[in-house]
Symmetry: C2
Subunit: 341 residues, 2 copies
DNA sequence: TTGAAAGCGGTACCAC
DNA sequence: GTGGTACCGCTTTCAA
């Protein structure tokens, strides 16, 4: 079933079929209808490879994300991935998944060289990300999820982790908390300059300084057991700590249990705030007061930006910096009165 | 940068370059090295569209899943999706995402007609799924996640929800529980014959009957609030209920809060068991005793089956029915002594 | 308003 | 062991 077959059955040339379907050249109403009839009858769809080869466009967007070696994907990443396909479909594009190491451009290079996609969306970026230099160099359309050091030269969509952590700290400070800990993503990610972790940390330091508060920073692996251990360290390092802010959603269950194990009741004795998906925030009891990451919206905006860029590669780069409000749930409350010591 | 350019620079014909790279015809060591050198120098990769057009293979697997209209993807679905890309990469394949309505073959038809993929993986199947008839009819390679009514004629990977729910019921019965509720996926999914929900329900009924126990069944929407409401209904319908089994991971937080709100302490007064991702089970406190769904393994096995099918379309269909053990965590305990009434 | 034909960049058959 | 070339299915220029 190809365009030649359609042409034959409609008694026209192949080019006429092509034009009738694309509308790039006027076709008489009569022939157009005849062609459409044959097409419907046979359920004809142009072969994507042939079309891509001929006009240089694949109609496919690449989604580049790190392989889940050893660890799971976070709910945030995954929810985002899901939303992307829907958004792309709305623009008549498909999404191709591509796993690529956080620190490597090789698989990215392959993706571009093979011309499988028209543009890419980069998840999990580092502040200084070599893949971005590579893409700029190659003049290949892309959008990053996260705001990198090259933000002024690129298109990106990001959650403002600095502002969100600041909002959490302010909320806790307003409640009277003076000693607050930050539970961050894993050490490994911080070391490589992982954007959300770095900006979150930055926001924490600034906000704490601005308030004249004492803060400690704890990288934490993405699992419940690490969260549990992390809380124990926090309370050992400074038993007077009365609140924490977490960027690590996977550790959340462990954080709660660690607190319970230390005899701290949330939110009476200890407050917890964070940045998380609403879905995730509602799993724990009491529900987590958190800045709700709008994963689906991030996906939609990223696709919109990329598609715009494909339509006009010379156009200006676009940005969306989202700052969702902190949803007050049950995990924060007034700071407890200090124990007399 | 194309194969002609490589041929020119290496002073050989295009076909020789092609054969040197594919190894489908012997090439003298000298020319092979010369070609490889030019290829490396220029970072040449064959154009995927051209290759697909010429040999009829795209090197791409399609992942068909329902659009997340209104509801989020479940952690299970998403974790699974993530694992697929890695598994496919191991077989040198890419994964193309495609959202397709649960009850429609139209987008599937387009996917096949455009020849974008060599085979598809179908998530979220119904026991009687029209897409399967369509794929069989079209003689198109596919693997389903979930065991349908056509299981004997298809390749599939599934978690044995019947056995898992049975294991949960047996575990609870052994602990002395006599009145057990099943919290299922949403009504809507049950109505359309959603596989895991249907088989889970079937397992529940059989296991309860086999033990001579009293059970009630509760469809529940995929969110915390619905879980909360669901527990209230369970306890209103039969206050003597002392345990529940849940197939609904998204409702879990709400289930716990509903129990707490009714004055039931888990696991002292009430036991909860379920089927969930380990990650998810560890979010709640006490951690959920659950059959751990091995999402990543499901993804890997599905890709293996599909790739095998592509290599030998006439070969036998393969199956993997997984029955992960129930991990005892903290949410189940001996049935409380009945209150005198 | 339509048709013929030259590509797009590979693969693989047929010769030598 | 290597080269020439038809062909995969579509788009688009050129000509009528």
């Amino acid at each position: 079933m190809n365009i030649g077959e359609i042409a034959r059955r409609a008694n026209v040339s192949r080019s006429t079929v092509s034009y009738a379907l694309s509308g790039k050249r006027p076709v008489s109403e009569a022939t157009r209808r005849k062609i459409q009839q044959v097409v419907d009858e046979l359920g004809y769809q142009p072969n994507a490879s042939a079309r891509a080869l001929a006009n240089g466009r694949t109609g496919t967007l690449g989604l580049v994300f790190p392989p889940a070696v050893g660890h799971h994907y976070t709910a945030m990443q995954l929810d985002f991935m899901g939303s992307l396909a829907d958004a792309a479909a709305a623009h008549e594009h498909d999404v191709l998944l591509s796993t690529a190491g956080l620190d490597s451009v090789t698989s990215l290079r392959r993706l571009l060289a093979e011309r499988r996609v028209d543009g890419v969306i980069l998840m999990e970026v580092r502040l200084a990300d070599e893949r971005i230099e590579y893409l700029l160099e190659a003049d290949f359309p892309f959008v990053t999820i996260g705001r990198t050091d090259a933000a002024d030269r690129t298109s990106w969509v990001a959650v403002d982790h600095r502002a969100l952590v600041t909002a959490c700290v302010d909320h806790l400070a307003d409640l009277g908390h003076r000693r607050i800990a930050l539970v961050n993503r894993p050490e490994r990610l911080l070391r490589v300059g992982y954007e959300s972790a770095q900006r979150g940390l930055d926001g924490f330091r600034r906000a704490m300084a601005a308030r004249g508060l004492t803060g400690r920073h704890y990288p934490c692996d993405d699992d419940a057991a690490s969260g549990h251990a992390c809380v124990e360290r926090i309370l050992a390092d400074d038993p007077a700590t009365t609140a924490l802010v977490t960027l690590n959603e996977a550790a959340l269950g462990g954080l709660y249990r660690g607190l319970a194990g230390a005899g701290r009741t949330v939110p009476r004795d200890f407050s917890v705030a964070g940045v998380a998906l609403p879905h995730w925030a509602q799993m724990v009891t009491p529900q987590l007061t958190a800045a709700d990451v709008p994963a689906a919206e991030l996906g939609r905006l990223a696709v919109d930006l990329l598609v715009a860029r494909l339509a006009d590669p010379a156009g200006p780069s676009g940005h969306h910096l989202l700052t969702p409000p902190v949803s007050l749930r049950g995990s924060t409350g007034p700071a407890p009165l200090p124990l007399s010591s």
